[in-house]
């Protein structure tokens, strides 16, 4: 067993020393079930008369659906129902719509076109899994193949095909205005001009499949009280419930979700696809329905960690001090957004890594391509950026002829330093980690590096927020992505205003939701004002297809978000209910524009 070393000297004031469980072996609460094989995974719930549901999937990266002929499949042995997009009451969603982030951009079942290989175009529900597979093969789909794009930078070129009409520039629109997420801290270009070395490199990380041993799946069944039970291996039970309620236009009180046991997940079981599909099957047939991905689907359709491309440019002094760091990043979201735009926001808060660098600029793009949509995986938003940053640190060390561990110790953030996203660093321990790692690896470091401490030398000047230059690049407006000179932060600064404010210096303050009180209408999925008639449990008549959201005109100044709740007008003065515990607490002032100039 590996031993754990506690460095209580570093965090002595953070907690008392009464930990009873950490650092010694313990027996998992659920392990008796695991070793006897009696842990009930979702697929271990057996229902009398359970039907099997399989998806018909697109063989193309990008294609128009001309027609779907299900008649042959419907007449095959054991087939109970063939379903298509028109059977999904609200066939457009985005995963984070439950927290009002992003526009609805993804159907549960494609109806006008497919945007990635393996996208669902129809389902078959049959008595056995084999019958369902055979019938899926008999569904005839007439496709008109469209040009596709699989590379992030090709996707933002003006000539690229539009993958998802909800995002006509093939990029997520941050703050409804910008085709990328910005970070500006100080003035990188001024610092590059003064630096002894400027070191640039590009890093690419491929998509990575989480590959849990148990594939994604769910079993749904009608309950006698007009509800539907759903056994699922989701990692996000209430997201799955809310998403199902929205897609099937069903009060969430009619859904009884049971989860909590996943045969591995690692982020790949948060996308809420199998649950609404299985519940739809149960609604359409009135029978228990199992919808489970096989291994091939898990690998092809299951959302991976998205690919990322990073370009890093560092300005470095001859003594190894990094004085400027600039990022250009591209997240490959795949055909639909899901969690990628959020991952970029998280990533931007992490830049420039655990280092105290006085000038930082970053443009990160969330790009739509015809790849399988990406989703969560262990530390997503951080992992690839860290990979790129640490590779780059080694490259910088080589360029200035310095011990790479000493370079990290020299540039490491220390307690009290201001990070680029305007938060003070605390409990920093990179220096100590480097010292211990060097010792264990028998990697010699200088006595000066060995004497450094995270607790000393931070704060003071290093706690200041520098006056930060910004640029006008990155607004979408009439701009089609790719028409500007490049994706990297502009070299000509155009003013000293806060990023993301369209030039209005102080209106960038976040608008808080004021209505946090809980009332009945806010719990779960809200239905329309008309009384809810319970959908029949027996096979239901086809529901009118939900029209695809109108494609915003690429030339329009700001595309209208379809079906997204209107946020409160930004012009209302910002009135926090409670002042921030740290930072600016004046109404109307953004803490991003405050701070004093750094030398």
């Amino acid at each position: 067993m590996s031993s754990i070393e506690f460095r209580k000297d570093l965090f002595a004031d953070e907690r008392d020393d009464t930990l009873k469980e950490i650092g010694k072996p313990t027996i998992r609460q659920d392990i008796l079930g695991h070793v006897t094989g009696r842990t009930p995974f979702y697929d271990d719930h057996q229902f009398e008369g359970m039907l099997h549901m399989r998806a018909v999937r697109s063989p193309h990266h990008h294609a128009q659906i001309r027609s779907i002929d299900t008649s042959a499949a419907e007449n095959m042995p054991g087939v109970r129902r063939v379903a298509t997009a028109k059977d999904v009451p609200v066939n457009l969603n985005t995963l984070l719509s439950l927290i009002n982030f992003g526009r609805d951009d993804e159907p549960l079942c494609a109806h006008d076109k497919v945007r990635y290989m393996g996208e669902t175009v129809a389902w078959v529900i049959a008595d056995t899994e084999r019958q369902a597979r055979d019938a899926c093969a008999a569904v005839r789909v007439d496709y008109s193949v469209l040009p596709h794009v699989l590379d992030v930078e090709e996707a933002i070129a003006p000539s690229a095909p539009v993958v998802n009409e909800v995002y006509p520039n093939n990029t997520f629109d941050y703050h409804e205005k910008y085709d990328h997420q910005k970070l500006r801290f100080g003035d990188v270009n001024a610092a590059f001009a003064k630096a002894d070395h400027v070191i640039e490199a590009e890093y690419q990380m491929s998509p990575i499949e989480q590959a849990p041993i148990e594939t994604c799946g769910a079993i749904a069944a009608p309950e006698t009280n007009d509800r539907f039970v759903c056994h699922t291996n989701t990692q996000a039970l209430f997201f799955s419930l809310g998403t199902t309620a929205k897609l099937l236009d069903m009060a969430s009180s009619r859904l009884h979700f049971i989860g909590g046991t996943a045969g591995g997940g690692f982020g790949g079981k948060v996308d809420s696809i199998v649950e609404p599909t299985a519940v739809l099957g149960a609604v359409l047939t009135g029978r228990p329905v199992r919808f489970a991905w096989d291994r091939e689907e898990e690998m092809q359709v299951g959302a991976p960690r998205g690919g990322e491309r990073w370009r890093i440019k560092d300005g470095v002094m001859a003594d190894g001090r990094i004085v400027a760091r600039e990022f250009t990043g591209f997240f490959d979201s795949g055909a639909y957004m899901r969690l990628s735009p959020y991952a970029i926001v998280k990533c931007t808060g992490h830049l420039p890594g655990p280092y105290s660098i006085p000038n930082v600029a970053s443009n990160v793009y969330c790009v739509v391509t015809n790849r399988t949509p990406a989703t969560a995986m262990r530390g997503f938003g951080i992992t690839a950026a860290d990979f790129a940053i640490e590779c780059h640190m080694d490259r910088v060390a080589e360029a200035v002829g310095m011990n790479p561990v000493e370079l990290r110790i020299l540039n490491a953030y220390r307690d009290g330093d201001m990070k680029a996203h305007r938060r003070l660093a605390k409990n920093t321990a990179l220096i100590e980690c480097c010292q211990v790692a060097a010792g264990k690896a028998k990697w010699a470091i200088s006595t000066d590096a060995a004497a450094q401490s995270s607790k000393v030398g931070g704060g003071g000047e290093r706690a200041a927020i520098p006056e930060s230059v910004t640029d006008e690049e990155g607004r979408i407006g009439t701009r089609r992505a790719g028409q500007t000179q490049g994706a990297a932060p502009a070299t000509n600064s155009t003013g000293r205003v806060a990023a993301g404010t369209a030039g209005a210096a102080t209106s960038g303050a976040p608008v808080q939701n004021s209505d946090m009180e809980i009332d009945a209408e806010r719990i779960g999925h809200r239905m329309g004002s008309t009384p809810v008639s319970a959908p029949p449990v027996a096979p239901s008549p086809p529901v009118a297809p939900t029209p695809q959201a109108p494609a915003p005109n690429p030339a329009a100044s700001v595309p209208t978000p379809p079906a997204t709740p209107t946020p409160p007008p930004a012009s209302e003065p910002y009135q926090p209910e409670k002042p921030f515990s740290r930072g600016v607490n004046r109404p109307g002032a953004s803490r991003f524009t405050s701070g004093f100039r750094r030398r």
């Binding site: 695991h34 070793v35 006897t36 094989g37 849990p212 148990e214 045969g263």
Partner: protein, 160 residues
């Protein structure tokens, strides 16, 4: 399609079932015999989660035609414990944190049992070889190998 009668011994119990032609043993154990302790991970013979012993030898149940087990003996994780008394492998897995999500565990235990029944004093390399057909995405394998070696030592009455 005519179904085929198949009789076999499942964890000491005589079992007789009608199976579809071409049905795999994993499906028949889970849906037919109702032994849910054997898992289905890939259906392609790559993950090992469905490992069972057929006449004492580890087999991938997802790639075994059910008709071929006629009059043979099948052991699954469900039969590993003797009533309330856990098998030494089960105890060692529990104590050694050799499972996290638990989905590979049943197959891993059967691969390990197949090894220890044939080779009661395996080396570390032999243990690694024996479970090399069983994927685990949680543990990184080391706790599993440790647990199997611990169980082997205890079964031989050796100090761990």
């Amino acid at each position: 399609m005519a179904k085929t009668p198949v009789t076999f011994t499942l964890n000491d119990a005589e079992t007789a079932l009608f199976v579809d032609p071409g049905a795999n043993l994993n499906e028949v154990l889970r849906r037919g015999a109702g032994d849910l302790t054997t898992k289905h991970g890939c259906g392609q013979g790559t993950c090992g989660a469905c490992t069972v012993l057929i006449d004492g030898v580890p087999h991938l149940s997802c790639l075994t035609l059910a008709e071929t087990v006629e009059r043979r003996r099948i052991d699954t994780a469900g039969g590993l414990a003797g009533g309330p008394n856990l098998h030494a492998l089960q105890t060692a897995f529990m104590e050694g944190f050799a499972a996290q999500c638990g989905f590979c565990t049943a197959g891993m235990l059967m691969a390990a049992k197949g090894l220890l029944d044939a080779n009661p004093n395996p080396t570390r390399d032999e243990v690694a070889e024996a479970i090399s057909g069983n994927l685990c995405r949680c543990t990184g394998y080391e706790p599993i190998i440790d647990a199997i070696l611990t169980a082997a030592a205890r079964m031989q009455g050796r100090a761990v």
